[in-house]
Amino acid sequence: MAAHRCGLSLVFILIFSSLACHSSCDSLENANEDTEEKQSVSDTPREVNSDGSIAAEDLNERRGRSTDAELDRRDGTRTSEALTPAAAARDEFQEELVIRPLHSGDIYASFQFRTLWDTDFLQEGQKVSHYRLFPKSLGQVLSKFSVRELHISFTQGFWRTMQWGQPFIPSPPGAELWVWFHDTVSDVDGNWKELTNVLSGIFCASLNFIDLTNTVQPSASFKPLGLGNATDHRFLRYATLPREIVCTENLTPWKKLLPCGSKAGLAVLLKSEKLFHSSFHSQAVHIRPVCQDEQCTSKAWELRQTLNVVFDLYTAGQGKKEWSLFKMFSRTLTEACPLATSSKVYVDITDNPEGELFELSPATPLLSQAVVLGDRRTYSVFDLTRAETFGQLRSLNLLLRWKGDGGEMLRPLLHAERYVAGFGLQTGEIHTVIYNNHPYRAFPVLLMDSVPWYLQLYIHTLTVTSKSRDNKPSYIHYQPAKDRHRPHLLEMLIQLPPHSMTEVTVQFERALLKWTEYTPDPNHGFYVGSSVVSALVPSMVAMNTNFTQDQPLFSSFVPVKEESSYFVRVYTEPLLVNLPTPDFSMPYNVICLTCTVVAVGYGSFYNLLTRTFQVDEPSLPLAKRLANLIRRIRGVPLLT
């Protein structure tokens, strides 16, 4: 047994050291990506002579590109350039909208706003407190709680992978928050608690319900996406609130974080009455450190705000396969955000090279190719920073008219779903089904499950079967729950055979809660957050690892480490489980009943103790008394 475990851990170490290695490499590539983008924008060839001159070169280049912070120095109000590095800290803002017509007739719109700031929040002795494009509220949170990386998403609706394909940035229904803290933090749990409270204030969400009972520390599933190869998962916290309802009050503070607000640029389209009249809505904020230049001598902070929305053909589109910006958002575009260095709209026309499937107007000569999620896609690009995009009407209203049937969609290679089985209110069984739709390649996936403590998992009943054969996970990390303190955490590395369905089942027993622990509507049931399936899926085409070309934002979020595979995260449905619910008037009934029983017992006892018994003279029967009465009248001696 020991040997076996040893072998397992060896496998695990091998796998994860490779993963860790990836993440360290990825930081470099990430850096490349950033700087290359800059370079391609500036179009100034440059040489880097030595390490020392990089910063200066970089500065020069930037000066040539735009005139932001350096003007202050040229002005002469400050004489010394070296006095404050933060004075040289620059920031830039990019915005982007991707529209993907889905085969089902629905339409997928994905907004990304990226703010990049060349500064380091966690640098010793230097307090960053002067903000330009980066929102002050988030910056203060980052520096106060020593946050290294923060990912938060609010989602309404469920992403239907089989109908819509993979989203650019996946998110589970409800709210999800995962944070990597800096490794100098001593009281991670305290910071986490305070951070969730502050974030719940910033985003007007009930994140303050995140506590130790729904927080886990995944050991392998959530690696930092930004710079740094932190592997010590003590500094990671992950929590989901599957019940969270997302609405306009969450959108408004999210929009406020944008430099242009909702006054200019792509953000004018974000009208809540349209966005929430959709079948899927997800908004997210991702903050991570990235490299400032390709040598990665200094860090920059990247804030990505993403908003994904799927408009339904029947409810939003009135059944007509005809979409326009105005129909989707009840707005058209008139200008780019003046603060943005790039502002673009991409329309996915991969399946429509000759215009046989749908018609796109106005036509644009600009095309762009990007490799996204293992597939080479072609996009029509509308650059909002150029005046000719808007035409004579001075407004851009993209029109997309389907000509025929949508046709078949390529099945996504990885797909997962989950349900709860069983009957009665005592036990049950969680089924997680993972599909590998790749025709000939097997690949490993990491499955992570976080189950609340009131479902008591029987881990010995855990079975993993693929193609009706037992499939032994090569790595299992299981942390049992503690009642009222922490949830179950189950992480497994499972090898998925090609073209197969893998089923993971585990039985559980439902716990009885204390009567104050029930939610106000306990008969609705209790939510269990989505399982997370993370995988490196073999790619059909070579992934783009050298970032020499200008890449759209949506394709550059998850760092790509190797050409042959790409990273995908799939969230399953959340579960709704009924727990045995008591009659809530019971406590009062019980009190009344016990009191009555006590009172009755006490009454008879009291009676017995205090009653005095007297010998009573037997009274005559009624007939005799009547007779005596008559006798008395008559004066005859009485009967006895």
Partner: protein
């Protein structure tokens, strides 16, 4: 009859058991935990008698006194004044004045050509302690203050109704100077003409009026202290001005967040650059360093785009400019405030300073006061909130400049206004000095030592007043609601607040201003922590009526037989006694 007697005893025994064992048991098991609080000490604090002690040193330089008069030196004299502010609050000022002649070193210092240099060299000689005042009496013929050779800039704050418009008017004094107040804790006083025939007593009493004026300028005035007590005392007889001063100043707090925001409603026309970091370093930070004993300050800044004012400025043809009238200023702040964002990382009060650059179509924009004149600083402030300055950039648009135009903001101009507003908000008050006084401008630090002392005095008193009210009202509340659980940590906070308050009062009495402030800050922190402790807000206890609704099914059937049988026993006993009496009769 023994049977009946036994029943009676049984009933009595049961009643006794219920009363002796049952009721205490029930009481004990349903009791809420209430830690001990120093109620008696708190009720002592309820009536606050504050004594403020100031050390005054009056130094006579050569040529002011005759050798005859000097013989009696050194000499000291205590002067006390008492004010009863209201029934529960009393103030006593104790001025301890020591008179002496100047040392040789001090004489040398006083021989400097100008008063400013003399002030500096006197400061080098000895550092006077926080809260004390040193007055140098110099001969009437001294060249130190014959007439004003240096230009002293005196800031006047002209106050207008609720929203105060600040005007900075550099004024130059050219009148006969009696008193020069330096940057530290020293003042130079030109000696009034003494008759050589006077004895020392007459000389000193002649001097007293002037010394008193100096002290009330440099240390504290009665009005400021009463204004600082506003938390305890209902304001009735305070003058309107000091009321306005105390209302404008932000409340005492352990920390403040100062936020500078640049509002750019029109990023398409102009892209603005401000070197806020450097400006804060060179203008704001020296003042904050000086104020470090009072509170912790943190400074940050942000740029907000597309942030507009809440009112539409009116176009005035006569000056071809847009104008904001003083009446509409109160509507400006609210819409802007929604964009400012609250400070997520701390709960200290925030002071906002906004620099508003009007958009190209609405510039230039000028603020007009109530008498329809343009405000020279083009700025206004809102009490306890912050300030707004309008910065016009329209003349920087070139004739056919490419939009957006790059504009650098002149931070010296902006920070001058913000600094003045910040001083007001922090309660560094500018009393109008009596005639003949010249106040040296505070210099690069932004704050003279004696101004800091004034602030320390009023802040200490304010903190003590606030903490004592907090503690007494907390004690009152806990006393009134018997169901609240008082945990040990709350009791501890309350006791530490009480001890800090007592030490603060004692230190004020002893004249140790710095310690008094520190203790008063501790007191305020501890009292607020106790008052706002979440455990006091728990509604986990039942109201009494509901509690008894639950108890009734148990209590009623138990108590009715006991009470009835007791009544019966009593009535029987009465009857028997009556029988006995009748029999004996």
């Amino acid at each position: 009859m023994p049977e009946k007697q036994r029943g009676r005893y049984a009933a009595l025994a049961i009643a006794a058991v219920v009363i002796v064992v049952g009721i205490p048991l029930w009481w004990k098991t349903t009791e809420t935990y209430r830690a001990w609080l120093p109620f008696s000490e708190i009720s002592e604090l309820d009536s606050l008698q504050l004594q403020l002690s100031v050390d005054i040193e009056v130094v006579f330089s050569r040529g002011t006194l005759t050798p005859e008069q000097q013989k009696k030196f050194p000499l000291s004299h205590v002067n006390e004044k008492e004010h009863q502010v209201d029934a529960k609050t009393g103030l006593r000022y104790k001025y301890e004045t020591r008179y002496r002649t100047a040392t040789i070193m001090e004489e040398d210092a006083l021989n400097q050509p100008t008063a400013a240099e003399a002030d500096l060299s006197l400061h080098m000689l000895s550092e006077s302690s926080c809260g004390s005042v040193v007055v140098y009496v110099i001969p009437e013929s001294s060249t130190l203050l014959p007439e004003v050779r240096f230009r002293a800039f005196v800031y006047f704050y002209i106050l207008k109704s609720l929203l105060k418009l600040i005007m900075l008017i550099p004024a130059v004094y050219f009148q006969d100077v009696k008193v020069y107040v330096g940057q530290r804790r020293t003042a130079l006083l030109r000696s009034p003409p003494f008759k050589t025939s006077w004895n020392l007593k007459e000389v000193l009493s002649n001097l007293d009026v002037e010394v008193e004026q100096v002290v009330s300028t440099m240390s504290f005035g009665h009005q400021d202290i009463v204004a600082a007590l506003s938390n305890r005392v209902r304001m009735t007889k305070v003058t309107k001005e000091s009321m306005a001063d105390s209302m404008r100043a932000i409340k005492s707090s352990p920390g403040y967040e100062i936020t500078f925001s640049l509002l750019n409603p029109d990023p398409k026309s102009h892209s603005l650059h401000w070197d806020i970091e450097g400006a804060v370093q060179s203008y704001i930070q020296p003042l904050l360093n000086k104020l470090a004993p009072i509170a912790n300050f943190s400074v940050d800044s942000q740029i907000l785009y597309y942030a507009v004012l809440g009112v539409n400025p009116r176009f005035d043809n006569s000056v071809s400019a847009y104008t904001l009238s003083a009446d509409s200023l109160s509507h400006v702040i609210n819409p802007v405030e929604a964009r400012l964002g609250s400070n997520a990382a701390s709960s200290n009060p925030v002071l906002n300073f906004l620099l508003y650059v009007p958009d190209a179509h609405h510039s230039p924009l000028f603020i007009r006061d109530h008498s329809k004149r343009e405000v020279p600083s083009n700025a206004f402030h809102s009490p306890r909130w912050g300030g707004i300055m309008v910065y016009n950039v329209n003349e920087m648009y070139g004739p056919e400049a490419e939009r957006p135009v790059d504009i650098n903001i002149n931070m010296a101009k902006v920070m001058g206004v913000f600094l003045a507003q910040l001083r007001l908000m922090l309660g560094v008050q500018h009393t109008h000095p009596p005639t003949g006084f010249v106040l040296q401008s505070p210099g690069s630090a932004g704050l003279a030592d004696w101004e800091l002392d004034r602030l320390l005095w009023s802040r200490s008193v304010e903190n003590i007043a606030t903490a004592s009210t907090t503690i007494t009202s907390l004690a009152q509340l806990l006393d009134q609601i018997g169901n609240i659980v008082i945990n040990d940590n709350i009791a501890q906070q309350v006791s530490s607040a009480v001890t800090s308050l007592q030490s603060a009062v004692a230190e004020l009495e002893a004249g140790n201003l710095a310690f008094a402030l520190q203790y008063s800050r501790e007191a305020i922190l501890a009292s607020e922590r106790a008052f706002f402790d979440p455990s006091l807000l728990h509604l986990l206890y039942f109201p009494d009526d509901q509690k008894f609704a639950i108890y009734i099914p148990l209590f009623l059937p138990m108590c009715v037989p006991i009470v009835l049988s007791l009544l019966k026993i009593v009535s029987e006993a009465k009857k028997r006694r009556a029988d006995k009496q009748a029999k004996s009769d």
